[in-house]
């Protein structure tokens, strides 16, 4: 014979009213948002700058080597 027993513990937990936490969800996110804004402020006031690859990256790499001279010579045929 199967007997169905009630889950007394669960029922008690469900019906119990939770006490107000020290920091509720809304005030937590409000504080988090304010913090993020303050942290982002220095980055925002940094002046925008276009990419400057630097003199080293944009320097001339071409040189008229023997290899290149040979290429020009054979292309004149």
């Amino acid at each position: 014979m199967i007997t169905v027993t009630k889950d007394v513990t669960r029922e008690t937990t469900m019906s119990k009213t939770t006490s107000e936490p020290a920091v509720n969800r809304r005030s937590f996110f409000k504080a988090l948002g304010a913090g993020a804004t303050l942290a982002a402020t220095p980055a925002m006031i940094t002046p925008a700058a276009a990419v400057d690859p630097g003199k080293e990256e944009s320097k001339a790499r071409y040189r008229e080597s023997e290899h290149v001279k040979d290429f020009y010579r054979v292309n004149r045929y």
Partner: protein
């Protein structure tokens, strides 16, 4: 200062696609991207012409003009390069380029485009010259080795010219004078009002 240019002699191009293959192999270009392509007009008809196309390294590059993150820059050799670290894959340069040069790898999920890839004139990118990182991101840096783009060096009929714009223009002029007629390339008739008679 020498200005790097490509010049395709359409009267010599035989549509062998060696330039395309050479480029893909030399730079280990991923699937779905062709930094260089051969375009044929009037295929199979009289007056058929083929021309090898890639980034033309424009003086006032439209890709650079529309880039919202300004990742393009022009080197002292007049080669238009870009930084893949800055590229956000928005695709504006793809629409701006009249030659279809900038392309995106289609390897991710829907909406993810990765970083734009384009012809670098075999001169790498903003990374340290001839470094493994540079090769992995941009391909080989033949200019730093004292060479020219492999597509032009591999061309069997010497149709594709690369190098100092003034020198290759002179080579092309000599060819035209020797042949006695102009190129069948696009725009020739518009510019010179001559019929193509071979």
């Amino acid at each position: 200062m020498a200005r790097m240019k490509f010049l395709c002699d359409a009267d010599r191009c035989i549509e062998c696609n060696a330039c395309v293959t050479a480029c893909k192999n030399e730079n280990e270009v991923p699937w779905g991207i062709n930094r260089r392509r051969v375009v044929t007009i009037n295929d199979g008809k009289p007056g058929e012409r083929s021309i090898s196309m890639a980034c033309m390294h424009c003086t006032d590059a439209p890709c650079a003009a529309v880039c919202p993150v300004d990742c393009f820059y022009t080197t002292a050799d007049a080669v238009v390069l870009h930084s893949k670290d800055l590229c956000i894959g928005c695709g504006y340069c793809f629409y701006a380029c009249p030659f279809g040069a900038p392309q995106y790898p289609k390897v991710g999920n829907f909406g993810s485009r990765g970083k734009m890839d384009k012809c670098t004139y075999c001169s790498g990118g903003p990374e340290v010259d001839l470094s493994p990182v540079e090769f992995q991101k941009y391909g080989s840096n033949r200019l730093a080795e004292g060479k020219l783009p492999l597509c032009a060096e591999m061309c069997s009929t010497k149709s594709l010219l690369a190098g100092d714009g003034e020198i290759i223009a002179q080579i092309y002029k000599e060819r035209v004078v020797k042949r006695g007629y102009g190129s069948g390339a696009w725009g020739w008739q518009t510019a010179y009002k001559e019929t193509i008679a071979i």
